[in-house]
Structure formats: structure tokens, C-alpha cells
Amino acid sequence: MRSDLLAPPAREGLGVFTYASVAAFVAAAHLARLGTRPARLGALALVLTVALGTLLWWARAHRRGRDDLRALGDAAPVLGRAEVERVLRGLALAERIARDPAAEGVSPTLARLHALRSIERLDLDRLAPVGARRARSARYFGLFALIGAACVLGAAPVRLAEGIDVAFARGGKGPFPIVWLDDPRVVVHPPAYLHLPDTTIDGYGRLVANRGAQLVLRGTPKRDGRTLLLADDFHEVPFLDDGAGGVVAHWSVATSGRLRVRARFGEVVIEEPEGWELKALVDDVPTVELEGAPKTIDLATAGGSVPLKYDAFDDHGLREVHLVVRVGAHEERRVLAKLDGEPKHDRGGYVLRTGPQGDPLVAKARTPIRVRIEARDNDPITGPKWGRSAELTLLPPTIGAAEARRYEALRAERDALVDLLALAIEEPADAATAVRLQTRFDEASTSLGDTLGQSWEGVRTPPRIAAIVKGRLRKAREAIAAELKTPGAAPRANTTEALETLTMRLDEALRALGGRDAKGIAALLVDVAEDGAAAAHEAAQGNQPEEATLRLDVDAKALDGGGASMRRLGTLGRDLGEIVENDLRRVARARASSPAPSATSWAQAELALRDLAARMREPVPSFGGGGNSAGSPGAPSEEDQIGDESEGEKQAGDQESALEELAKEHGSAVGEVEDALRDAEDPKSLEGLDEEVKKRAKALRDAVAGLPKNGGMQKNLENAEASLREKAESMAESLERMQIGDAHERGESALKAGEDAKDKAWMAPGADEKIDDAVGEVKKQQEWLDGLLKKIRERAGQKAKEKVKGVAPRERGLEQKTGDLGEQSEKKAPMPEGPRSLLEEAKKKMGEAADALEKGDADKALEKQREAQRLLERARDQMKGEDEPQRGGDGGNRPNTEDKLDIPKAEDHKGPEAFRKRVLGGLGAGASSPKMQEAVKRYAEGLVR
């Protein structure tokens, strides 16, 4: 019964599902070819749906074939519902009775018979036509789908392959390569700056191109409608229609890699089986060879210069070559060559002057100087690259060695004074000893004087120390001279006292100087230690370990030298020097901790150097503070604080300030008299002068009218003549304005220009006469002006008489103040002979000026005042060590760290008038004699009027 009912539709159904599956597969492949994630999922869903549908249908049909009742029920619409229900009831009854024969009172046989008869009554023949109809429909449907799929496949069979490829893509790439292009051809265009010809490669294979080159890839697409791309592992560029049936892609070479042609389907690409292995040639960093580098050169033995010879190479071209000089953290670059980017090699040289007059950076350097050459190439693609040579390390004289020598020299002088003092104390106070004392003192004094003036590689004795020592030397000399005159116990006591004070002042200054120098050296060592730490860090990182090792060696040597210098510099220096020494041992220990220093040992070396740098930043004694050193442990203890200046230096500083103040105050008094005179000068008060000056101005102008106005660019006769004319006209202009003094100054300038013009007069015949006429006229007017000025000043003096009398008490007061300053200094901190006598002379001149002022003699008073002022300023300068002849050593032009630069304070601003006075005073002070200074001053007045 089952086979009758079900077999025909099942067979037909399976066929239909087979056809549908084929069609669905083709459709799914096309759907997947879109390449998007939803499309690929849709394709998968479609294939699965058809497959699952087939399975489900088959399973259902199979299950239905085993279930008679259900099969009968399913056939009810065809066989008649009433008949089928009757049969089903009969079958149910037969089954129930078979299980429980007594249930219905009917025998099981009868019940089964009844059911069979019900079934037999069904007209099963009615099922066949229905099944046949259904089978036919299914066949048609399946056939139609199959034909459809066949058509699609036949029209574009590769699409199916593409679809499958896309469907099975992993990581966005189809697993099966497909050829996309026919006749591929690559043209390589090297970067323009290389000036290389193009190259062409047909087909696939290996490509070599410079970085920045352009690749032009052409080919004919095998199939239309595909999005073709040229790609490596990181980038892709599209192929564009070349207008001739082909496609073209442009590729910029940046890195090496594998180039492939690929087609993109949504998110998936399918690549060609073959491609190009691209090797990108990188533009190398220039290489620079500095002759002899790496090497360490001791500047002390360098002979005043270090020749630097270099060769710079680049694979394509050089643009620039620099000399790089590095001192500590400071780096300076100097251009050695500017090139056009064409030469691949540049050879050159430079002489680095290392003497005191040489390169300022090198001359100033106290720590190792690193010199290297750097060359820049012409690479516009990745930007210019600098190549650097190995470094030459120039070692300046040992850090602090000069200071240490100065300290030791001064200490030797102190020791000589101590010996002298012992002689004064121990020997009897008689005439013979006095003579011996005198002799020994003269020797010690000469030696000390020489030492105070000496230079140790530019390092000198600070002026204040020199001043206090020279002052005390003078006092000791006076005491010994007195003892020599009248030998005895009392004069000897004075001698001893003077020598003790001299010794103590030098000792105090020496100890303070040692402390200051130690601090200064420590500051220099900070940079060296930091540089060494940076080198150790580089080594720990594995960056150029050989270079880093060399750098560290040099730094360690410099530190060692600096530490050794410090140890020669008294208490603080010895303390800090020991620390340097110990920390260098730590560095050496770290480096020697294993056969080859490891990253850890380099790191330890770096830490030790950083510790040293940090310590040198705080150059204070290792132990400080407290009181009661003999007290209990853990409790505070005594420590001598190392001051920056000794007591004597402070006193000398106070004297400098007092002298400075006095000079300023006296300058103001001089200005007062000058102002009074200037105010009194009134040329207009002279009758008829107005007309006279106009007449004379016209005469002047007429005399030079024949001279050229513009001299042109060259310094020739015409130029000189023009200058004479300009100055004479300027004189005339001042005359017209009644500026008599100014006119006189300009006349001087005109005469000078006239002399210059006369020197060149041979160049043109007749020029001599023209110039002589002009100069003659100027001279004539100058003579007239001399007389006029004299007259004006006499009148001004008379006029200002009463006014200048008022300045007299001020000048007298300043005279007194000067005397007090001298006396006080004799008691507390005697000045050296030079400033003291200048001060005395200045006091005398002030007294004379005050006398003249009291009499109302302004001219004389002003003259004396000016002389006093210049003497005061010279005394001040000598106290500051600015007026001292320099002796010894290298004559060093190195700036002394002890020198102080006077920076004017806000209150020092006195405007143009003060400036004028300073210039006048300053220029006047330069002359050796006060009288000569007057001439200089007149010249200066012309400049600043």
C-alpha cells in the first residue's frame, strides 16, 4: 500500500531537488562573487538551505512511507475524507480489539476483517493521476532551473570560479589565483635627482628600482568588468583604462616587496599566480671619514691647531658638509661646504685653531671637545640624511690644573711668609736681624708680586686678593723699614704684627680661593659626568658600544684629571676630589664586573656617574653643620663653613664700592661746575656777533663751493674733497646757529679732512690750489673762533663766579671723604701703593679745586676737579685690577672667571648728559698725563655734543 501511495512522488522529488541544488550552487557562487560579507553569508545560506531542504523533504517522505495511517490521512483529499475516516476508524478499532479482545465484545478477527474491507472499498486508482501530475510539474521545475544554471554557466563560466574563490576566501584573499592580465610590461622611472635612464621589463619576474622611482605597469585585461589593482603587502593602486584597450597602474617605490596584480570583489581579492619581486634600492646615508678619527688629542701637545681632513661620500649626491664641535651639552655647527647635490664625493679640510687666540669655543672649553664632520645628501624622497664621521676628542688642559697651580704657587708664597714670620719671631730684635729681615722680605715680596701678576693658562690671581696682599705688603715693608731705622723690641713687635696680618690675609684668601676653585671645577665636572653617563647608557642599550666606550674613557680621564686638580685645592677640593676618585673606581668596577661589560654593568656605571654628577652639582663639604664636634655621636658637630670670600676680600670689595661711590659723587660735583659754566656761556651777549658769524659762514661756504658734493663709492681725491666740503659746511652751519664750541670742533674735523684731501691732490692737476684755498679759509675761521671762545669762557667764568662758589663746600666735603677713606683703609685693609697714592693725589687736587671754587675761579676749579676725578677713577680701576699690566705665562686672553662685569642698575641711568660725561671722563682717563687728557677730552666733546 505504501509503495503504491508514495513511491512516484519521492523519486520525482529527489530529481527535482538535485536540479535545484545545481541551480542554487550557481546562484550562490554569483552571490558570493559580490565579495561583501552579507553576500558571502547569503551564498552560504542559499546552498545550505537547498541541501537541508532536500534532506528534510527526503526524511519526511521516508517517515511518511512508514506510517500507514498518516499516509492514508495525507491521501484523504484525493480518496475522500469520509471514506478515509471510516477506514481509519476501522483500523483503530481492529487495533484496539487486538490489544484487548474483551473490550468491545467483538473478536479480533472480525474487527480486522472489517478494517480490510473498509480499505478495499477505497478507490486507490484515483491517486495515480494526481501523483503523475505532481511528478511532471516537479520535473519541469527542475529542468527549468537546470537549464537556467547551464545558461549562466555557459555565458560566463569564470564567474562561477571567481564566485567559488571568493566564497572560500580566507583573510580577504581567494585561495585560487587567477590570471587577470595579458602581456604585462613594467617601465621603471628612477627619481629625477638620480639622472638615471628608464628601464622596461616584460612579463613577471624580478624588479630593481631606487626608492622614490615610479613604476608604470601596463597590460591587457583578460576579462572586462573586473576591478584590477596593483598591490604589495601594504598598499594597492588601481589600474586605469589607458584608452587603448589596456590598463595602466602607477606605483611609487618605497620599500622592497612582492608586487601582484589582483582583482577586487568587495572585500575579497583574487591575485594572479605570478608577480614581481621588487627590490627597492635605498639612498644610503652619506659616509664621512675624518682622518685619524676616532682619536683623542691632547691640546697641550697639539701645537696650536688641529688639522681636520675629511672625505664625504654618498651613493647619489652631497648637499652640505658641516663641522660639528661639541663641548658638554653645547653643540656648534659650522658649514664647511655647500654643494649642488651632484658630487658623490667631497674632500676637504679645516684647521681648528686651539691656542688662546684660536677658536673661541675651543679656547673657552675646559671639558673634552668632540669634533666630527657631518655630511648631508640630496635625497628629496625621504628627506635629506646626515651622515657623521667618527669623533676626534680634543682634551683641553686638565680641568682645574691651572687653578691648582695657582693655588700651589700662592701657597708657596704663604709658606715663604710663614718662614719670614718665624724669623721675625725667633731671632733677636737687633740691627743684624733687621737687615736679614729686610733682605728676606724683599725676596719674598718680589716673588709674591710676580706670583700675583702671573697667569696660569689665563688664570690669574683675583684682583681683590692681589689688592689686599699688596696693601699688607706695603704695611709690612713700612714696618720693616722702621725697624731697620731704629732696631728694637717695639719695632720688631710691629714688624711681627704686620707680617702676621699679611700671612693671615693671604692664608684666608688662599683658603677661600681654593674653595671657590673647587666649586668651579665641580661645576665643570657635572657636564663631563653627565656625558659619561649618557655614553654608558648608550653602551647599555647596545648602541655603538665601541664609540660609547671610547667616549666614556675620555670622560673618565677628564674626570680623573679634574678630581686630581681638586685634591690640590685645600679642604673642600680634597674632599670633593676624593669623591670623584671613588666614583671613578665605582665606574671602573662596574665595567670590570664581567669579562665583557653587560647591560647591567653599564647601567651600574651610568648610575655611578649620575651620582657623581648630582654630587658635583652640590659642591659642599661632605659633612656640614652642627656644633660641639666633641659632643655626642648623632648629635650636631662643628664644621668650618667654606665661605665664598675671605674677610680680607670682603673688605677689599667694600673699598671698591666706596671708591666707586666716591668717584660717582665727585663726577656729579664736576658736572655741577660744568653745567654752571655752560649755562653762563652766552655768545649772543657779544655785540654784533650775530652778523659776524653769518658773514664768516658765508665765506666758508664760498671757499668750498668749488669742491664736489658727493664723493662716490671710491676713496679717491673726489671723495676726500667732498668730505672737506661737507665738514666745512657743517662748521658754517654751526656758526650760523651760534654754536661756537661745536663750530670749533667741526673746524678741526674739516682741517683733518683737508689734510687727507691734500695727500691725494696729486691725482688731479690744479686740485692742490682749490684745496689750499678751502683749508686756508677754515684755518682763518678757526683762529677767529679760538679767540672768540676764550672771550666767551672768560665772560662765562665771571658770570658763573657766584654760582660755582656754592659748589665749594661740596668739593671740600668730598676732599674730606677721600681722606677718611684712605685713613680707614690704612686701619682695616690697607690699599696697595698705587691706588693709595692716587687717592692721596686726588685728595690734593680736590683741595685745590675747592680753593679755586671758593675764589670763584671756575676754569681752574674745573681743571683741578677733572684731574681729581681721573685720579679717583684710576684708583678705583687699580683696585679692581683693571689698570694693571699683565705678566707671565701665556699672556692669556682667556676671560678670568673672577672678573666681574659691571652691569648698570636702573638708578644708574642718568640720560644722555650722564652718557656724555662718562664718555668724556672715560676717554680722558686713558691718557697718561692729566694734561694730555685735555686734548683727548676736546676730541671727545666733539663726538658726543
Partner: protein, 530 residues
């Protein structure tokens, strides 16, 4: 029931079962970390290490404790690694610890460690030239260890770690004490992180009492361990002052300037502080003068309390007071409760008894102490000039001339032991041994100990000749040099004198020789040659 439902039910049951356990685990972990912290405080390195080994080192709190432990053992690089992570730095105190760890790593990079197994001491030397002082450190530590057990009931673990740094700069870097503060108060040592960190005796120009200082700081460590870091500052400093000299025989100078008298004078001048208001550290007090008074104040009070002043009005006589007090703190009691428990009185009540008593202890103090107004201490003005001139003349070999400058200073030598030493040296070099001996006061009257004084005394005694007229013996000179070494171990005069007078076969002879070599290598200039 579906499989999914069964699965969900099982998960819920498991979570329910596990929740209380997780809480229990967390509590156990926290307790374990507290134990580790306590072990670190108690300097029990092995216990702390074993507890922390069972924790995840990536956890910030664990990492913090590992950092503390590394600082304790002096492994500063490791401490930096443990303390650096951001999560650790978010914890309280981690920032300060990291700063110290970095300072320690920098100061102690590539230094040497010397083990003294005999005395169970491990000394790390920033300057390897200090190697010669290690036996002195070991000797003091070993003796003080026994004293601490006896006096405080604290059994110190071994090895004892001591770091010798070259200067106050490194001392500050390794402890977190501001450098300025160390300079102001003249700090020479600090006990921290289970270690004694001490200044090299080469740092102060005239040296300092290294061994007493070590004993002092070691006492701080013992108190920290014994009281679980519960001891207040007055107790810490007072006990440390009391114990610092108990490892050796007492010397007259120990009591020459009694703490009671200084405290009385200081308190009368208003320089003292309330016992419970000293601040975080004596080293942070604003001046050395105040620090001196505060030291005297706490030392006087602790001695009063410890039974040293038995017989004085209201003073306890119980010698076990201190160990019992330490034990009370270890129970977690606060100061008042701890004092009440062991003595029946709290701090205020004891203060009320001690203050009136200490006021009665006032007596004239030498001007050099700096508490009495009036005559300035020697070393200023005219005396300083004479001293310096004398030294310079001595330095140039003019002993006779030097005496003219130094002899007048002899009367001041009673107060300023350096002056006394220089006067004696000048006389000795001038050949006047008897005069030199006369210039050095009787050691029993010495107001303060100074290496230079003792070394000069050694020179003078040695010059007197064994069995000579002066009656000095080689043993006297050796003893004087020994005292000099105790106060300035790296002085050439002291160390080489000690070595030259050491009896053959005496175990200290080798130590003395090493010290002498180290002192010579310093190349410190002789008197008047700097």
C-alpha cells in the same frame, strides 16, 4: 529539566558555594600581607620573603611590600623595579619610598660589600677605601647586640646591615632626609629600612665617634623591632643616647657634659620641646643648638625613667622598666597606656616628676657648649688667629715660633680640646715633652673627646718613653691612640700611632695596620700644611 537549565543551576550553585570562600581568601590574603609588613618591621627578612612569595607580585600592595623588603636588604635596583609601576605609586607612601630607592640605587651602584662573619655584620661601602673601618663596625655591632638583648630584651636578627656612605649628600639620598636638614643638624647616621646608614669618618675633617654612633643607630633598629615601630621619638632618641656607650667601658668624657645639666640649661632658656612634641626627627630640628638640647632632654628623661637616677626624688629604681616598656609597646599600647602598665603613671605624670628634678641639675657649662651667653667659645677672633698662625708655623717646622702663638692659648685648652692638642703638639715638636704633657689636661677632666687630642696624647706618651721620667708606659700610649681611633679612625696620627704601639700578637694590631695604611692613602696634609 533542559540541559541549559541544569547547567545554569549548577553554575549558580557553584558560585553560591564559592562566594564565602573568596571572601575568606581575600581576608586571609590581607592578613598575610599585614604579617609580611610586620615581618619587615621586625627585620625578619626570611619570613617576609616567604609570605610574599605566595602572593601575586603584580598586585600593587604586594609589589609595594616587595619594594620595602628590597630596601630592607639593600637591593635598591629591585626596590626601584617593584615601586615604579603606576598602580604601586598610587598607594600611600610609595612615592617617598621610590625616591629613596632611586637615591639608594644611584648612591650604591657598583659599591662593594664586605661580610664580617665573625660579628655577623654585612657592610656595604660606598667608598672602598673605607674597608679598613669594617672591623671597628663589626666590633661595636656585636657588643651592642648583646647590650640590646640585656637592656631592652630585643634579640636582633643577623646579619646586621650597615651602609657606609661618603657624605651627607648620599646619606640624604638613601634615607629621604633633606640634605639641607642633614647639614643643619650635622647628622652623621640614620637607622632606616632595617639598616644603619652611617657617614664615612673621612667626611668630617676631624672625624667623629664612629663606633658610638653605630651603637646609637643600632639601638634605634632594636627599638623599632622591639616595639613594632611603636616607640615615640623621645623614647627612640632617649634610649639610643643611653645605650650608645654601654657597649664599651665608660670614659670620663661620657659624663663630662651631663645630659641633665644641658637639659636643665636648655629648658631654662626655652630651647627644649615637650617630650611628645619633638616632631618627626631630631635631624629635622631648625638648629644644631636645639637638637643638642632636645637630645639632652630625652636622654635625661629616659635615664630618669630607666632607673639610672634611682634615689632621686620620685625616680624609679626598677632596672627592668625599659624592657617592660618595650614589650608593652609591642602589645600595641599607646605611650600613656604603656607607661601606666609598666609604671602606674602616664607621660604627663612622669614629666611632672622629672621636670622639677632636672631643673635642680643645672650647673655652669663651658662656653664651648654654646648655651651660656657671655664669653664666646674659643676658635673665634684673636684665638683663632693665634691657632692658625701656630698651625702654619708648625706646618713649616718652626715649632719654637709656633709656641709663641699657641702657648698663650693653653688655658683655653680646658674647654676647647683642639686648642689643647695643638699647644701640646707645638711643645712636643719643640722638644718639651713635659710641657706637652702639662698642656693636655687629665683625661678624667676632659670635657669632650676628640681624635686629635687623644692622638696627640698618644704622641706625647710615646715620646715620654717606656719607664721614662714621665712614667708613661707603651700601654698608656696604645690606649690613648685607641681612644683617638675611636673618634677619628682615619687620622694618620691616630691610626699609625695605634699600629706602632699595638702589642705584638694583639688581634687589634692587624686592624690598626690596615687603618694606618688607609689613613696614609688619604694623603691628608699634616697640621698647617693645607
Amino acid at each position: 529539566m533542559s540541559a541549559a537549565r541544569r547547567c545554569a543551576l549548577a553554575a549558580a550553585t557553584l558560585a553560591f558555594a564559592l562566594l564565602p570562600h573568596a571572601e575568606r581568601s581575600a581576608k586571609a590574603a590581607l592578613s598575610s600581607l599585614a604579617d609580611a609588613d610586620r615581618a619587615i618591621t621586625e627585620m625578619d627578612v626570611e619570613r617576609a620573603r616567604s609570605i610574599l612569595a605566595s602572593h601575586d607580585p603584580a598586585k600593587p600592595k604586594v609589589s609595594l611590600l616587595l619594594g620595602k623588603l628590597a630596601l630592607e636588604t639593600g637591593e635598591c635596583d629591585d626596590a626601584v623595579k617593584h615601586l615604579s609601576p603606576e598602580a604601586v605609586q598610587a598607594l600611600p607612601d610609595a612615592g617617598a619610598l621610590l625616591t629613596v630607592a632611586r637615591g639608594c640605587a644611584r648612591a650604591m651602584a657598583a659599591t662593594i660589600v664586605v661580610d664580617d662573619p665573625v660579628h655577623a655584620v654585612r657592610v656595604r661601602l660606598q667608598d672602598d677605601a673605607d674597608r679598613a673601618i669594617v672591623p671597628l663596625i663589626g666590633d661595636a655591632i656585636a657588643k651592642q647586640r648583646a647590650v640590646l638583648k640585656r637592656d631592652l630584651g630585643v634579640d636582633m636578627p643577623t646579619p646586621t646591615r650597615v651602609d657606609v656612605v661618603r657624605d651627607q649628600f648620599s646619606l640624604a639620598a638613601m634615607t629621604g632626609l633633606p640634605h639641607k636638614a642633614a647639614q643643619t643638624t650635622g647628622t652623621v647616621a640614620i637607622a632606616k629600612f632595617g639598616r644603619v646608614i652611617v657617614l664615612s669618618p673621612r667626611a668630617p675633617e676631624l672625624g667623629y665617634a664612629l663606633q658610638d654612633t653605630i651603637a646609637h643607630e643600632y639601638t634605634h633598629l632594636a627599638l623599632t623591632r622591639g616595639t613594632l615601630d611603636g616607640a615615640p621619638l623621645w623614647l627612640q632618641e632617649g634610649v639610643a643616647k643611653r645605650e650608645e656607650t654601654r657597649w664599651r667601658a665608660a670614659t670620663p668624657a661620657d659624663e663630662a657634659l651631663p645630659a641633665d645639666a644641658i637639659a636643665a640649661a636648655g629648658l631654662a632658656k626655652g630651647l627644649g620641646r615637650p617630650l611628645d612634641g619633638i616632631g618627626p626627627s631630631v635631624a629635622l630640628l631648625p638648629s644644631a643648638r636645639e637638637a643638642m638640647v632636645v637630645y639632652a632632654e630625652v636622654a635625661s628623661f629616659v635615664r630618669f625613667l630607666a632607673g639610672d637616677r634611682a634615689g632621686a626624688a620620685g625616680a624609679p629604681a626598677d632596672a627592668t622598666m625599659l624592657p617592660r616598656l618595650v614589650a608593652a609597646y609591642a602589645e600595641g599600647l599607646e605611650t600613656d597606656a604603656a607607661l601606666k602598665k609598666v609604671s602606674g603613671k602616664d607621660l604627663k605624670e612622669w614629666n611632672a616628676i622629672w621636670r622639677p628634678w632636672v631643673a635642680t641639675q643645672a650647673k655652669p657649662l663651658p662656653a664651648s657648649v654654646g648655651l651660656d651667653a657671655g664669653k664666646p667659645a674659643a676658635g673665634h677672633g684673636k684665638e683663632a688667629r693665634s691657632l692658625r698662625l701656630g698651625e702654619l708655623l708648625l706646618g713649616r717646622g718652626h715649632a719654637k715660633a709656633a709656641r709663641t702663638k699657641l702657648d698663650p692659648l693653653e688655658p683655653l685648652g680646658l674647654e676647647d680640646v683642639l686648642l689643647g692638642a695643638r699647644v701640646a703638639l707645638a711643645r712636643l715638636r719643640a722638644g718639651d715633652v713635659a710641657g706637652a704633657r702639662a698642656a693636655l689636661v687629665d683625661p678624667a677632666k676632659l670635657l669632650a673627646d676628640l681624635g686629635a687630642w687623644w692622638a696627640t696624647r698618644g704622641d706625647v706618651l710615646a715620646a715620654s718613653g717606656v719607664g721614662g721620667k714621665g712614667g708613661a708606659s707603651a700601654a698608656d700610649a696604645f690606649s690613648a691612640y685607641g681612644a683617638a681611633v675611636a673618634h677619628d679612625p682615619l687620622s694618620e696620627q691616630a691610626a699609625c700611632g695605634w699600629a706602632s704601639t699595638a702589642p705584638a700578637g694583639d688581634p687589634v694590631a692587624a686592624v690598626a695596620r690596615d687603618l694606618c695604611d688607609a689613613a696614609r692613602q688619604r694623603q691628608a696634609p699634616p697640621v698647617g700644611r693645607d
